[in-house]
Chain length 295, copies 2
């Protein structure tokens, strides 16, 4: 299949190469940052519009909501080049609200739209093991499924309405952030009360407190190994999406709001590029106490 | 071994019977609520003091901090009957702060003290599969270990200071409550945004959001099956312990404080006896929206 791929960063590169390895033809827009590997694997086009003109399916994997808007509807944007009957798949993690608008504008061109954000990080992208949460019409999902299978493993259609995939991704990021804060509050509490947080983690693993975060991130917290991983500034962005969407829905998410504030405190202290498990440093800051025995 | 056992409720009864089945002699105080099975298994004594007089090891399993105080130091309390060299094991879930005081007063009698709260509920108690988190001196732990092994499986000494077990239990309950609130906020968000919470749960299980709570409690939330399980009023008590201890330690636990307030809101709506997964009804109440499609 002829696939346009826009957004060839840390995530997009291995995803595009997995599609190439599955036998598809890649078309990408010219950027100074294209790697030799991508240049060898793809046909490089001058603009997003030109990429769309060559593609049956256009995949977008860019950082944030306005980036998707610019790719589609900016000058020489993809929407200008989309052929009737093409399929646009936005795999970025962006606002569910704007996604509905983007999908409607793409539908006006006679094209289908899926929102299909992922989780699993760079490792999941390289190993074609991403979790993919898909919103959009069933027929479009069926058409895209072989492509998803070349990039991911746990592929779930979560709703036929545009934005359903983004809603699911935001829900995922809410849980991950709040589970990180849960472990942070518990370990700071234990440490301040004079108990070794590593022993606490060992004692409670396997019970109702068990989680992937207790398994992986608690160890990072205890050792102070905050190299990413998943960066605080990106998780902050995801919680901003959660809160702006919640505001639009007249919804109160009190602990999500607090976790977003804790990420803000981390960023204020220069931790934007650290792993999201470093949220614990904001909780430690509130108590002027480090679980690692140094201040 | 001669074991006094005080507190023969839903948890204490099967724990005591497991000790009996392991070959120990049980001594219990007279209560109208003693079951025929316990009366057949144990020597019934008139008071806690008399139980202590007969025992090498005294186990306490009562609801709350003042109850432990009353058992030990009330009129005809166990402390009056403790023989020098006896071991007191408090398996209740109570305040780490008061635990230190109780341990010091028991030490004045020439006795050892362990705090050894459990998790795993009635099922874990019956199956001798409790998680047991133990604080207190190593030698006392070694002496108690065969008894713990008759009642539980994951048995961890978390610190030699009195109260370390209680600190660990509180940390556990913080994580469990906050993971429940995490799943609650995520599912209410998804549902209000028009996405099926069951599909969200399916899509994100197995990733970084995975937890025992997402596995078990999310299903209860989606189905509205809030029969306990673990009652809101008990988890509320545990978060009260967390917050009062945190206050004594000059510690801010913002999301724990919010979750405690959500449990209070549940109790205000008559949900004290429901399973703690019903915390979601407080989040739903904030939004005037039920994820189960009815109000």
């Amino acid at each position: 299949m002829k696939i346009g791929f826009i957004g060839l960063g840390i995530m997009g590169r291995p995803m595009a190469l997995n599609l190439k390895n599955a036998g598809h033809d890649l078309f990408v827009p010219e950027r100074g940052s294209l790697t030799p590997e991508i240049r060898a694997a793809a046909t490089v086009c001058p603009t997003a519009k030109a990429v769309a003109e060559h593609s049956e399916v256009l995949i977008i994997m860019v950082p944030d909501t306005p980036d998707v808007g610019a790719v589609l509807f900016g000058p020489a944007g993809a929407a200008e080049g989309l052929k009737k009957g093409s399929l646009v798949i936005d795999m970025s993690s962006i606002s569910p609200i704007e996604t509905r608008e983007y999908a409607a504008r793409v539908a006006e061109k006679g094209c289908d739209y899926l929102d299909a954000p992922v989780s699993g990080g760079e490792v999941g992208a390289k190993n074609a093991a991403l979790t993919i949460m898909v919103g959009g019409p069933d027929a479009a999902f069926a058409r895209a499924k072989p492509l998803f299978e070349a990039m991911g493993k746990n592929i779930t259609p979560v709703g036929s309405e545009p934005g359903a995939g983004q809603v699911c991704k935001v829900a995922n990021q809410i849980i991950v952030a709040l589970n990180i804060q849960a472990v942070s509050e518990a370990l700071v509490f234990a440490s301040k009360a004079g108990v070794d947080p590593g022993k606490v983690r060992q004692a409670i693993s396997g019970g109702f407190a068990s989680s992937r975060i207790l398994e992986l991130h608690a160890e990072r917290m205890i050792n102070g190994t905050f190299n990413p991983g998943f960066k605080i500034k990106l998780h902050q962005k995801d919680l901003n999406l959660a809160l702006s969407s919640a505001k639009a829905l007249d919804l109160a998410l009190p602990n999500t709001a607090i976790a977003q504030q804790m990420f803000s405190a981390c960023i204020a202290h220069g931790a934007a590029e650290l792993d999201h498990s470093a949220l614990i440093t904001a909780i430690e800051g509130l108590a002027d106490h480090s679980i690692r025995g140094k201040k």
